[in-house]
């Protein structure tokens, strides 16, 4: 962004603040200019990230623009030359004190039992600017005390001061205008529409920006007093956006997560998953001691015993060991594990659990940043899963770009997404035809339809994407795996074609797993070593490891926070593999579907319990900081690796995190310049230089499968609220996943001749399952969509990853 350049270019707007000659930036609001010059003007409705409305009237100050002094709301007034501002006059003070008296007449003053008490702007402003006592002797306004407006948010309308922050946020930022003012005058209140709860993925932000205790979050209600909280800055790890957070604890328990305004990443916003999944860390289901399988249950064992047994299982022969996962770990832990595995000669390592895109696409393609991608006038090609479901905080930036910055969004996705309404063009290639569709665009073949997409639509999309070459527009492809029932090879083919169409295009990988970028950089992938250097002797990827296991070629399966039984798309392949291997070792925080089947379980310290760092999808390094003590005997992942190494007779030389970091900086050039101590202090986190020079080896193109005219091609994607480990173990979030259902296009729905929601039998190969079916206008004809990992249906059972596309038959 060029904002800093443009502000330096102008000389500034001269104005007078309380008699002092100062300079404001061009177009700067008075309230901001005063703040920057050390004069705080009280406010309630004004928020830097929302459109000013000027309705609380708290920020009135006396302004003279040549026509005499008058009270003006400083949040709506750009500074103009020679403006004389006085924040200290009697008139200003009388107005501010008068507004506060009016705010407090109907405010319940139930501060002793209010979660906001102690960190409440209304308390603070009343203390600093208020009249000190009230003259109001009438009955206060009464409403039913808090009403739940969603599963996560409660609204106390008595406390509400009607600042319009939550309602503006939900409409402007989230695009979920589910709360609004109703009634008028003194009975004005915020509320939901009848029978429509405030079920926004971003509802927690309204709690954070509420200037009083009107909105409270179910997980935090009555959990702590603000003055008992201590905080540290960290990074949200539930997806790869890397939103910056403040992590707060009381009595050694995490109780709240707040968004931190990082200009480069999340602008202060968080998804509810990022905000509330800390609950899982406090869960009683957390692993607290090493476990060894004894019959059908576990016995707890001692750490040295567990380390010894793991070392033994890993030394069975380097090609007979497969390692899955690593995205949960910090960069430092990934590095130590990577060193351990390299030292043991183990190359069958994959942090991708077969549900992402090839590592070389992530590491080898020219990268960009979120800020560059959303710069005004840019073009964004979304060839990835619905960002609202998988990378919700990134979705907010993309939505803002489309709505406010005139960014063109082009969608190439199997189904409609949350960005479809903001996209200028959307095409939905049939499963299996992604490569063919993009190839037709690259070859300028627009005569016929390809993969169900009309030639004219192909031409329009191709022309937009090619703008990067024709007029130098900034083109960013957000690339990810939008269909788990379709081979990831099609994504590689499509990228290859897009690069022919737009050679200048840059990429943002839509990685689902938190620190997957770090894992790939640290070499937890078969084809690359630490620092993204291609391996001389590549190992097996997840699918190949599982096949080798089925064929008896793998003895030990090591799971680094991975749950392949739940996450790998082909359920039958992974369960067969588990049945065949001798030893499964899981390093995890919970007993998941997979770790519950392990022979040896090593409890790891989790989110909020470890220091380290995180690499987001841009390649931006940000801090992970420990706030609470690890549960029970759980240990840092890097320490576990170091001890196993020692047990194997390898001395990695790591006894402190600093030693890991200096070794990491010394051996990986892109980390050479990282100032580790400054990590927690720098605003946005350093963007690691990843200027790599090799080109991606795309290999041969994948054959487009023949269409089964009797069946429906399956599109499987994820919802934000699924049965993932963190959600499942968060008391409040566990209730949120919806029942799985089958969505088909309106035409296919009519052909089925069923009622809305009627249970049908779906069949793939010899596997059958029952599921309710609904019509969805966002689906192209011939495609059926099922969300992955929702209650009611194990769709993984029907996916066969030997087929490049899974086709299902539907029967009543």
């Amino acid at each position: 962004m060029s904002t800093t350049e443009s502000t330096e270019a102008v000389t500034g707007v001269p104005f007078f603040l309380n008699g002092q000659a100062l300079s404001a930036n061009d177009g700067e609001l008075l309230i901001d200019a005063c703040e920057r010059n050390g004069v705080h003007i009280p406010r309630f409705c004004y928020h830097e990230r929302l459109t000013p409305v000027g309705m609380c009237r708290m920020c009135l100050v006396e302004v003279d623009t040549g026509r005499g002094a008058a009270l003006q709301p400083s949040c709506m007034l750009p500074v103009t030359p020679e403006m004389k501002v006085n924040t200290e006059t009697e008139a200003t003070k009388r107005a501010q004190s008068g507004i506060l008296e009016l705010f407090l007449i109907n405010h319940p003053l139930d501060c002793p039992v209010c979660d906001k008490g102690g960190e409440c702007p209304l308390q603070d402003n009343a203390y600093a600017f208020g009249p000190g006592e009230t003259r109001f002797v009438e009955e206060k306004r009464h409403y039913e005390k808090p009403i739940p407006i969603s599963d996560l948010v409660n609204l106390d309308r008595e406390r509400c001061i009607l600042c319009d922050r939550c309602t503006r946020f939900s409409k402007e930022v989230a695009g979920d205008p589910l709360i609004h003012f109703i009634d008028r005058g003194n009975e004005t209140q915020v509320n939901t529409f009848p029978d429509h709860p405030f079920s926004s993925y971003f509802s927690g932000n309204t709690v954070q920006i509420c200037p009083v205790g009107a909105l409270t979050a179910t997980p935090y209600r009555f959990k702590a007093r603000p003055w008992d909280l201590t905080a540290t800055e960290s990074t949200a790890t539930v997806d790869s956006t890397g939103a910056r957070i403040a992590l707060q604890s009381s009595r050694d328990e995490m109780v709240r997560v707040l968004g931190v305004d990082s200009e480069a990443v999340n602008w202060g916003w968080l998804s509810d998953k990022e905000r509330f999944s800390y609950e899982a860390a406090n869960s009683d289901a957390r692993l607290t001691e090493p476990l060894a399988k004894a019959g059908s249950s576990f016995d707890s064992i001692r750490w040295n015993n567990a380390i010894g047994q793991t070392a033994k299982a890993l030394s069975i022969g380097s090609d007979r060991v497969g390692v899955l996962g690593g995205a949960r770990l910090s960069v430092e832990a990934q590095y130590v594990w990577s060193k351990l595995l390299q030292g043991s000669g183990i190359s069958n390592v994959d942090a991708n659990i077969g549900d992402g895109i090839a590592a070389d696409l992530v590491l080898g393609l020219p990268k960009t940043t979120i800020a560059e991608a959303v710069a005004p006038g840019s073009i964004i090609v979304l060839m990835a899963p619905d960002p609202k479901e998988e990378l919700p905080t990134l979705f907010l930036r993309l939505r803002h770009a489309a709505v406010e910055s005139g960014v063109t969004i082009v969608e190439i996705t199997p189904t409609a997404t949350s960005l479809t309404t903001h996209a200028s063009l959307s095409i939905h290639p049939a499963p299996g035809s992604l490569g063919a569709v993009t190839e037709a665009m690259a070859n300028q073949l627009f005569g016929t339809s390809v993969g169900g997409v009309d030639g004219s639509d192909l031409e329009a999309v191709a022309a937009t994407i090619a703008k990067g070459s024709t007029d130098g527009s900034n083109v960013t492809v957000i690339v990810g795996r939008s269909n788990l029932a379709e081979s990831a090879d099609f994504v590689s083919d499509a990228v290859q074609s897009l690069l022919r169409l737009a050679p200048e295009a840059k990429f943002l990988p839509a990685l689902r797993r938190g620190n997957l970028m770090g894992a790939l950089e640290m070499g937890l992938t078969p084809e690359f070593g630490p620092g993204g250097n291609p391996s001389d002797e590549p190992g097996l990827d997840t699918e190949a490891i599982l096949r080798a296991a089925v064929n008896g070629k793998i003895d030990t399966l090591l799971l680094l926070g991975a749950d392949p039984i739940a996450d790998f798309p082909d359920r039958n392949l992974v369960t067969s593999a588990f049945n065949e291997v001798n030893t499964v070792v899981a390093v995890d925080t919970f007993l998941t579907d997979s770790s519950a089947r392990a022979d040896l379980v090593l409890p790891a310290a989790g989110f909020g319990e470890v220091d380290g760092s995180f690499l987001n999808l841009e390649g931006r390094l940000s801090p992970l900081q420990a706030k609470v003590t690890a549960k029970g005997q759980a240990r840092d992942d890097w320490m576990i690796a170091a001890e196993i190494a020692e047990s194997l007779g390898m001395d990695l030389g790591f006894t402190t995190l600093d030693e890991v970091r200096s070794d990491l900086s010394a051996s990986i050039p892109s980390f050479g310049a990282v100032d580790w101590d400054a990590l927690g202090r720098s605003d946005d986190g350093p963007l690691l230089d990843q200027g790599r020079t090799w080109s991606v080896d795309f290999g041969s193109r994948t054959e487009v499968p023949a269409v089964d005219g009797y069946g429906l091609a399956l599109a499987v994607d994820r919802k934000l609220w699924d049965q993932g480990t963190m959600i499942h173990n968060s008391a409040t979030l566990a209730e949120l996943p919806e029942q799985a259902q089958l969505s088909v296009s309106a035409i296919d729905f009519e052909k089925l001749g069923v009622r809305d929601g009627e249970v049908v039998t779906i069949e793939s190969g010899s596997i059958r399952a029952d599921v309710g079916v609904v019509a969805d206008t966002g689906l192209p004809r011939g495609t059926a969509r099922i969300h992955f990992r929702l209650p009611g249906l194990d769709i993984g059972e029907l996916i066969d990853c030997e087929q490049s596309v899974t086709t299902i038959r539907v029967a009543r």
């Binding site: 309705m55 001061i161 008028r184 003194n186």
Partner: protein, 463 residues
Amino acid sequence: MVSTNEYVPHAAGYVDNKGPKIVTSRFPHEDSHTLVRALATGGYDGLKDAIRRTPADVAGEVKNAVLLGRGGAGFPAGIKWGFMPPVWPRYLVVNGDESEPGTYKDRLLMERDPHQLIEGCVIACYALGLNQCFLYVRGEMAVAQERIAQALNDAYAAGYVGKNILGTDVSIDVVLHWGAGAYIVGEETALIESLEGNRGMPRLKPPFFPAAKGLYMKPTIVNNVETLANLPWLMVNGADKFKTYGSEKSPGTRMLAISGHVNRPGVYEVEQGVVTFRDLFYGEQYCQGIKDGNELKAFVPGGGSAPWFFEDQLDVPIEASEVGPQGSMLGSGAIMVMDETTDIVKACLRLVRFYARESCGKCTPCREGTAWEEKVLQRILDGHGRPEDLDLLLEIGQSISPGVYPVAGFKGEDLDPVPFPPKQTTICPLGPSSVAPITSAVRRFRSEFEALIPETVVLENLS
């Protein structure tokens, strides 16, 4: 009673005073709302005249006529039109959300002569070089809405509105929009919000001056119904003839709605600046005196938002430029008369309650302050007032409208008037409007409030 003028039965509320008629000329006809009658009485002649001239010429004629806005602020329409930047699209929005307490003149204009209004809209659009007009009619006015709808259909069919008007290359569409019923939507920026489909809440000016950032953030002129209804006559007869009526500063006529304790309340078309309030209340062709021969106690000269006038102001000419310095405003032309039998505290509460109920809830001082004022007044009326409540009422007013509030003078107590308008801590004048009746009533009739406040008895030696 023999009179030279009379009520017009089919135009309930309208009184034909046989004076000059600029906007009410068709009212005496029973079928004044039909296209047939309009055409038979010179309807759309003004449009035909206008369209033969250049838009700049038409706008110049309006500017020359000093046609003051009839909505409340009294700003010259011609000058307002000149504020439009050369940006297209631009819109004309007609404010037919007449809801100021006591006002019912625009309703009559819409019900009795919709074609005159439509003709005025088209002339204004032509003069402003725009082709989209939105006619916003108040939610409660069902008859007006129906008649304008019918008139629009007829005018479209006859080629006075729509594509290629009167065979020229001028195309202007008029869209009728029916409000949902909110006083605040009479405020122009709130009306624009409502028209856009949002909750009717005013926008802050600046930056949202409609002429620069109005409907859909495009330049927009918002004119009152009566203002536009003047245009057909003005086009046919010219500015010079227009200026032969009324005073120099305020040419033409005004429709005044008089209610309350007079013998003949109603809407009168009156020459501006020529007639005084005394003429209006006591004149034979107007209201014919105070009811039952009672004494006048107070009157509201320009809608519920206006500070009150008293007998001292009876000889003020009815003209915005004369009323303002005397401490009130002519506003929407609604005059409410209170005679000696009036319970001032109740009258005050009635007006304050209106503003409390109609506050949109956006600005804190108005949302909280008006309701507080209402509660205090109600408490005083209920006999639970405290001596400090009168000062409290004025103090609450200070939080909504700081400084000295406009008020009429009265010689009896040697008080000078404070000229209009008031200062405000709110976005729009609704909140400050609630302060007008309180300030006027408490200052002039303090003893009537005090009479309701029981004496405080201090109990001693309870032990």
